[in-house]
Amino acid sequence: MNNRFDYSPLGDGGTGNIEERLWEYIDGQSSVDEKTTIEKLLETSRQWHEKYHELLEVHQLAQSSALEEPSLRFTKNVMEEIAKYHIAPATKTYINNKIIWGIGAFFIILIVGFLIYGFGQVDWNAKGDTNLPVNLNRVDFSKFFSNTYVNIFMMINVVLGLMLLDRYLASKKKKLQKEA
């Protein structure tokens, strides 16, 4: 087939693809400026005019293509088949939100508990070398962090934190897509 991508100056000062520009014009997707330019070109350039009618004919023919119909029993067959099935629950409801919030609340309470316990161990009246109310030398951190259970707990918190971050970013992305 001849000139599928027909790059030609055609006196319009541009070297754009005629067909592509004309398709956009036919589809009504050209900008106002582009529309005016193309309309001028259609009046002045024979090549543009001919190409436009050629493409318009294809466009109109494509529009006239017919839909195919399935057999008359089609809907009945589908309805008979779906009678055997149930609608699967929505993907997002596979995990109950209440459970997630429950787990979250449990760990928050646990953290708060540890903090209260930690601060409870501090002798607020003790005088140290620094002006801080807490004598950090007296707090035995190894007691808290060398424990296997505490490490597991921290790890779970990190995972939960990442899950929450992922959820937040996903909802933000969805919001942005909707806005766009």
Partner: protein
């Protein structure tokens, strides 16, 4: 596209237990789905079977439709993935665009017309036959744009493409459709 209750209303009815309401959706979209499927399968029997599967899949996943897009866009996404899976399974013979014998092969395709209709030099007949000569990607995008009333953004969503890429693909598909018409239906086009 339709009169009567909206797609969303029907879906709500189905989800709340009125399963028979799904028949309205099937009636509303069966021709669109069947036409699109036929572009892939090239056989009415296969298209009928695959279309049924598509509606069953859509029914089973109906709770996942959240109304972020049109129901038709969501449904055509299922059409696209199901047809691709079907083609992979069937390993259908894919005819090269440049094959000279494409026309003869296309003549033997069961494109949904009776023998008498095929003989008619009707515009619809000729366009449908020209589309059936295209490869599945081109035929699909042309059908989605012209028959299934999908915008370029929606087509992009269905095919997993950026809207601009969908636009370029549509332009190329139309160019190839024009080529097919000029090559194989020059007389018919002249008569129109």
């Amino acid at each position: 596209m339709s009169t009567g209750p909206s797609d969303t209303e029907i879906i709500s009815q189905v989800l709340s237990g009125d399963h028979n309401a799904y028949a309205i959706l099937v009636e509303r979209y069966k021709a669109y789905v069947f036409t699109l499927t036929l572009r892939f399968t090239k056989s009415r029997e296969d298209a009928e079977e695959v279309s049924q599967d598509i509606f069953i899949k859509a029914y089973r996943s109906l709770a996942d439709f959240r109304g972020a897009s049109k129901f038709s866009t969501w449904l055509y996404t299922i059409v696209n993935t199901t047809c691709i899976t079907f083609l992979r399974k069937k390993r259908l013979e894919v005819h090269s665009l440049d094959e000279e014998r494409t026309f003869e092969v296309a003549d033997s395709y069961d494109s949904g017309f009776s023998a008498n209709q095929v003989e008619q030099k009707s515009r619809i007949n000729m366009v449908n036959r020209a589309i059936s000569l295209l490869n599945t990607d081109d035929a699909e995008i042309i059908t989605l744009f012209y028959k299934n009333e999908q915008s370029l953004e929606e087509i992009g969503q269905i095919l997993g493409l950026e809207p601009n890429t969908a636009k370029v693909r549509l332009h190329r598909a139309r160019t190839r459709l024009k080529e097919k018409m000029e090559k194989y239906f020059a007389e018919e086009v002249k008569d129109l």
